[in-house]
């Protein structure tokens, strides 16, 4: 009988589980999972197995991390972090994620739910028109090649110049919305062709635009710093990534890295962990292209921010500044960063791959988005996260059910009713979309947040629930 990987986990605290490097052959380092017992019981054994695979790669730094929203993914699970030495390590497109810089922008308003409720249907309908979404949706912007290259290199600075956002939005964005060292020439023509017409589009799948209201404030002082002061305050959340451009960059470099594995003689326990040595041409080319896709994604959300503000102005008749519609924070959750961390008392430069995982740095906002119809959270990062998870936290509620299974079990029309019963107005391009993203298809976000809070990795600041949803 094969011993399942989960059975080899040792619980080291209420929210931490340890997998020693002795559990299988060729593991260089240990792995660790942050989760409460309920979550741990729901994590698939295959996903735990995947953590041990990553622990076999060259230059991997202890521990490989699984977060409470972890689920099986391409090579590295979604909801996981793999850190690699900046000299001896590897960098991988699969460990970054196909949707490079899929991330979340949280925007506040000074409106309350009482102000918004009478106009919610009109608001959602106008937002649906303002922000193209769905498979096959036409974008409103068609960039020339030169403009696109500018976006890839300069990120949100481009959106600032064009008036979609203001300086404060840039400051409230991870990396200030622009990773230095992005190289548009490392992004293929194919990727650019896909991306040129997609700037300012929401996409589909688990991407969404939500109008929310605050239900709880757990840390008043921190929340106030970011303009969250009232229960029933209305906020807006955009969950979206780098669209076809990012997907193509990931695909292109996956192919290149498959060849690099042979060229540099890297042993892989799993073909999907294709990678390249960090300082090889293949490695650095990917890093530079990834940064360009990151910048594209930040800009994408910045453009939508501008349109969302315009829509609110149209519906409520006040300027967005008067409605205090400022960005609370904008985070990335499929990304590779070169960061300095303290490992065993020594400062080391590491390539930190966060796949379905967010940065969680001391006193910096963290956003965990629930699935459709469930709550989302604003949290803050901690020193504990720096020690335990390379400054990382969960990004959302991981999928509990495959998309096809979700469609078979849940028919979209019924879900629209269920959402309405909860007081949530939704609009999607067709019913199947709602079915795929049915809340029951995801793990419980409350348990995910409970786990990261309990482990001290990110601490709860505020909780929001949706009152309106736009989905593709």
């Amino acid at each position: 009988m094969v011993l399942r990987m989960k059975e080899k986990l040792q619980q080291i605290s209420e929210f931490e589980w340890f997998l020693s490097k002795e559990v299988r052959d060729r593991m260089r380092v240990s792995a660790k999972i942050i989760a409460n017992k309920t979550i741990l019981n729901a994590i698939e054994d295959d996903a735990v197995q995947q953590l041990t695979n990553v622990a076999c790669l060259p230059g991997v730094v202890e521990p490989v991390i699984g977060l409470p929203d972890m689920h099986w993914g391409y090579g590295l699970p979604m909801g996981a972090v793999g850190a690699f030495d900046a000299e001896e390590g590897v960098i991988s497109a699969g460990m970054c994620g196909f949707d490079i810089n899929c991330g979340i922008n949280l925007i506040r308003t000074n409106l309350t739910y009482k102000d918004v409720k009478p106009k919610i249907r009109e608001l959602i309908s106008e937002l649906f028109k303002a922000v193209p979404c769905g498979v096959g949706a036409r974008g409103k912007l068609k960039l020339t090649r030169e403009e696109l290259d500018e976006v890839l290199e300069r990120g949100v600075d481009w959106a600032l110049e064009k008036g979609y956002v203001v300086e404060k939005d840039v400051e409230a964005t991870e990396e200030h919305g622009r990773m230095e060292g992005a190289d548009p020439s490392k992004v293929s023509d194919l990727a650019k062709k896909r991306g040129a017409a997609q700037l300012g589009t929401l996409g589909a799948g688990n991407h969404f635009l939500e109008v929310q209201r605050v239900t709880d404030i757990f840390d008043e002082a921190f929340a106030k710093k970011y303009g969250i002061v009232d229960k029933d305050q209305v906020t807006i959340m955009i969950h979206c990534g780098s669209r076809g451009l990012g997907h193509q960059v990931a695909t292109d470099y996956l192919k290149i890295q498959e060849q690099a594995v042979k060229k540099y003689n890297i042993w892989l326990p799993d073909r999907q962990l294709a990678c390249a040595p960090v300082n090889s041409k293949e490695g650095q080319d990917f890093f530079a292209a990834m940064k360009a896709a990151v910048n594209f994604s930040f800009t994408n959300k910045a453009v939508m921010t501008g349109w969302i503000r315009e829509t609110f102005e149209k519906v409520f008749g006040h300027s967005w500044e008067d409605m205090d519609m400022h960005t609370v924070y904008a985070i990335a959750h499929n990304i590779v960063k070169l960061e300095e961390h303290v490992v065993n008392g020594k400062k080391r430069k590491l390539y930190v791959h966060r796949k379905g995982a967010t940065r969680s740095f001391p006193d910096v906002p963290v956003i965990i988005a629930g699935s459709m119809g469930t709550s989302s959270y604003l949290l803050k990062g901690t020193e504990t996260a720096m020690k335990k998870t390379f400054g990382s936290s969960a990004h959302g509620a991981g999928r509990a059910m495959s998309r096809n299974a979700a469609i078979k079990k849940f028919w979209g029309g019924k879900i629209k009713e269920e959402l309405l019963e909860k007081g949530i107005v939704s609009q999607s391009t067709h019913p199947k979309i709602l079915a795929e993203e049915a809340p029951k298809a995801y793990k419980d976000v409350e348990a995910v947040v409970d786990s990261v809070h309990g482990a001290g990795v990110s601490l709860k600041v505020a909780r929001m629930v949706p009152v309106g949803v736009v989905k593709g």
């Binding site: 498979v135 096959g136 949706a137 997609q198 589909a204 799948g205 990931a250 999907q272 998309r403 391009t429």
Partner: protein, 125 residues
């Protein structure tokens, strides 16, 4: 994930494309009004299949079209080249399905069977 079959290479490639678009859009609603010719290269037939599907995912975005019918006009037995015509119509979200980000290598396999060929594909959605 899907499996597609064919009596020969031509058929398995055509059926794989149909299976892909069955995910991307509501294929029954797509009329073969417009056509696009594409050519694809590969190192071998399995690599060609990967590139073929990846190219189809790409042209959804670049041409903003959904396709429902595929004709492989020419395909080399060694898998280094194919030419195809794809028939469809302009994409619209109302006829859309699931957003496919890419083809993955997870359990990806094109193999000869008793009846011809079979391919297994896992999509990143």
């Amino acid at each position: 994930m899907f499996e597609a079959y064919g009596q020969d290479l031509k058929e398995v490639f055509e059926n794989a494309a149909e299976a892909l678009f069955n995910v991307i859009c509501q294929i029954d609603k797509i009329e073969p009004k417009q056509e696009i010719e594409i050519t694809v290269n590969g190192r071998n037939s399995e690599d060609l299949m990967f590139n073929w599907l990846q190219e189809l995912i790409l042209i959804v975005d670049t041409e903003n079209m959904f396709f429902s019918k595929f004709e492989i006009k020419e395909i080399k037995e060694d898998g280094t080249y194919l030419k195809a015509v794809c028939y469809g119509e302009p994409a619209s979200p109302e006829k859309g399905g699931t957003l496919v980000k890419a083809v993955t290598y997870y359990k990806f396999k094109l193999e000869k069977t008793k009846g011809g060929y079979k391919v297994r594909v896992a999509l990143d959605i």
